[in-house]
């Protein structure tokens, strides 16, 4: 056999056990591109108040707007997730490890894609990653998005169809002529689930009062269903590892600490999993100094469920109180389509009310290329929420000015200004060798000739016992173009109706809800007994940048120090831990899985 052919053949790998299981892959080895993604939805926890529960006398009737999106009899007790896996020729071949991961604040499954693909490819399919997409995502009206996508996916992209999608979500006004036909077109209508025609159905608080019952208890019971499904796949000798990113680390640690037995017995969450993965978040804290009493708790839930004014909020209406969250989510989806199908061309979102006359237009005044609009929001050099962003490159084809003094901006970011030639500002991706560095460029850019720099040095690493702070040389590691489709795929980037009312009430108890005294409502009672291994992965330019970021949580559980690991990727920002192309934490993560699996198999295989 020719040696080169042999190498190619071996490079194909996916080897099987003792000739029984055979897996395949083409020459070149397993690549991330071979990893499949599917968005799945299965029956979730049967929360009785939720439309579709079937519990007579308790089930709440769905509002008309919900019916327009989901049909006359929606069943909302469902749990959804994005599954990342590697197809194998043998349908009986199963992974030995499954990660079940929870997204962070107002986020979805999408950003986990790069890390998930790297993990699955690294293990040649012996690992799967399931990323949870929380319940409220099913309430999003995706009709305009799907209409626009279908139009752009034509052999010859139909831009008019994209205009229609934009006019579905963002009706034209005197100052926004999306298709530039000189007329103020009416909102674009599409068939809805009640058989009528309607433009964007955007929920109000009163349309979703059932979300008063979508708190910690409902969520963790949803996720336990996935954990049990994962266990059924990997078996008792496999690994089910539960984790989360950012605020998802709070959720993950609460899952571990939860007592699923509402009676006197204990069915602890940690007993169902083999380890906890905290990604750029320090886990659950102590909660509020003053915890609600049972009467106060019940009164608050009742108010959330029965209020008739939209000021009583079951979901978060806006991002930091200034950007309407549903509008931002719909706009992000359309902007992602714009970026994928019209890369380099002027952003059409800049013709809509998402931009014109809004805060976004004030923050980003220049003409932008379609993908630049996304880049400015996601990149830690430009985003008004830089602490929640990643390192996707930079826009430096025009002046940038320091924007630190703007409201809500707490870290140095750059506001892009018009190009001298008034052409759209373009995006320079993470791997562009000409990204500006400092020096020679000045990190504090001023209008009139400065561009700023993408890569700063945030100083020496703090000692493990020092207060947490950012450190190290920044790195540009995440591919913006990989994040464009994430904006509109199921399990997208922004959760338009992020449940806030009930979870905020629950999180006042932090890691121990024992004082509430009613485990049928909330049962975070087992944190001190959590004894499974914990791996913490942070970014030195993120929100959990050093050992101290995790110390409080790790000190609150029973896991011995020898089973607590922390790895900080130097230069990584908050999202990079998920989105980096060649994730620096992958060797640590791989080793963790290998060691835990070996330990598990010692009990028998």
């Amino acid at each position: 056999m020719n040696a080169r052919i042999l190498l190619s053949a071996l490079a194909a790998v996916a080897v099987a056990a003792t000739g029984v299981t055979i897996a395949s892959c083409p020459p070149g080895g397993v690549t991330e591109a071979m990893v499949q993604r599917a968005y799945l939805s299965v029956p979730g926890y049967a929360e009785p108040h939720t439309p579709g529960s079937g519990v007579v006398g308790t089930e709440m009737a769905p509002a008309t707007r919900v019916q327009q999106i989901l049909g006359p009899t929606p069943t909302l007790n469902r749990v959804s997730y994005a599954r990342f896996w590697l197809p194998k020729p043998d349908p009986n071949a199963k992974p030995r490890t499954i990660f079940v991961l929870v997204p962070g604040f107002i986020s979805g499954a999408g950003p986990f894609g790069p890390l998930a693909r790297q993990l699955v490819a690294q293990f040649n399919g012996n690992v799967e990653v399931w990323v949870i997409d929380r319940r409220p995502n099913q309430l999003e009206d995706r009709r305009g998005l799907e209409h626009a996508k279908a139009a752009l996916q034509q052999p010859t992209p139909d831009v008019n169809g994209f205009y229609e999608g934009l006019q579905f979500y963002f009706p034209e006004t005197l100052s926004t002529d999306i298709d530039q036909d000189g007329a103020i077109d009416p909102p674009y209508l599409l068939p809805d689930a009640l058989g009528g025609m309607s433009s964007w159905v955007k929920l109000r608080q009163n349309d979703a009062r059932f979300m008063a019952y979508w708190g910690v208890d409902t969520y963790v019971r949803d996720w336990k269903i996935l954990v049990e499904a994962a266990r059924a796949v990997v078996g008792p000798q496999g690994l089910v590892l539960f984790g989360g990113h950012s605020m998802g680390t709070t959720w993950a640690s609460v899952f571990a600490a939860y007592d699923f037995d509402p009676g006197p017995g204990v069915d602890a969450g940690y007993s169902h999993i083999d380890g906890i993965l905290l990604l750029e978040g320090g886990g659950v804290g102590a909660g509020s100094a003053t915890k609600p009493t049972l009467a106060e708790y019940q009164a608050t839930v009742n108010n959330l469920a029965t209020a008739t004014v939209n000021t009583v909020q079951v979901f978060l209406p806006s991002f930091f109180g200034v950007l309407d969250l549903a509008t931002l989510g719909a706009g992000a989806g359309m902007a992602g389509l714009d970026g994928v199908y019209r890369a380099g061309q002027p952003s059409l979102l800049q013709r809509t009310t998402l931009y014109v006359g809004s805060l976004i237009g004030l923050i980003y005044p220049p003409l932008l290329a379609s993908e630049t609009l996304i880049g400015l929001f996601l990149d830690e050099d430009h985003s008004p929420a830089a602490a929640l962003a990643g390192s996707f490159g930079m826009s430096d084809d025009g002046d940038n000015q320091d924007f630190t003094s703007a409201p809500l901006v707490t870290t140095p970011i750059y506001q892009p200004l018009d190009r001298a030639d008034e052409l759209p500002r373009q995006w320079k991706n993470f791997d562009d060798p000409t990204l500006p560095t400092c020096p020679p460029n000045d990190p504090v850019a001023v209008a009139g000739g400065s561009r700023g720099c993408a890569i700063r040095n945030n100083g020496p690493r703090p000692a493990p016992t020092d207060p947490a702070r950012q450190w190290g040389e920044e790195r540009e590691v995440s591919d913006l173009y990989e994040m464009l489709a994430v904006q509109y795929e199921r399990g997208d980037f922004i959760e338009q109706y992020f449940a806030s009312g009930r979870p905020n009430l629950d999180f006042q108890f932090g890691r121990d809800s024992s004082s509430l005294g009613d485990e049928s409502l909330l049962a975070i009672t087992q944190n001190a007994n959590v004894n499974v291994p914990v791996l913490c992965l942070g970014g030195s330019n993120g929100l959990a940048p050093s050992e101290k970021s995790y110390a409080t949580y790790l000190g609150s559980i029973a896991t011995p120090a020898s089973d607590q690991e922390i790895f900080i990727s130097e230069g990584y920002a908050h999202l990079d831990v998920l989105t980096a192309k060649r994730n620096a934490a992958l060797p640590t993560l791989t080793s963790w899985v290998n060691r835990l699996l070996q330990r598990k198999l010692l009990a028998g295989f």
Partner: protein, 191 residues
Amino acid sequence: MRPLLRSLLALALVATFAGPAAAASIVTLALDPTQSSLVPASGPAETLSGTLVLRVGALPLGGSNTTFDVIGLAVTASGGATIGLDPDVLDPGLGVLRPDGAWLVPTLFVRITQGSSVDLAIPDLTGSVEFGPGAASITRLVTSFGIDTGAGGIITVNVVAVPEPGTLLLAATAVTTLALYARRARAEVSR
């Protein structure tokens, strides 16, 4: 026999057969080229030669499983490709060994090089070992698995490995010398 020489030979014997103590043991095995092969779907088979190094958690085994880690791999196919552990993975070959000799490495991470290199993960690698007297040593390792190359068909990989010749010679020398020493000692006592 001088005490020092006796001690060295005893040490060699212990090291070679991984000793009677239930502690981690390093076992070096050599692939038997006459029984180790890569067999493509069509075309001639290639022989495999080289060594693999194991760290066994406890030898002799008691009644329970022990760790079985592939910590060294240096294999060459007769066609020229070399196969080693993936140096980018911290623990590339962690596995478990049963008292009956069956073993499992859930994922073995290897690097194949011939001009360029490709990193591969081999899932669910299983096989068996045979033990020496008292289950204090490993005298043979066998595994066989398939690689589906897609259009290229399935390659079958067969591996039979035994203690490498140098190790065997050292062990044989140690055993023989100690046996001679014991016989002489007995003779001296009887006088």
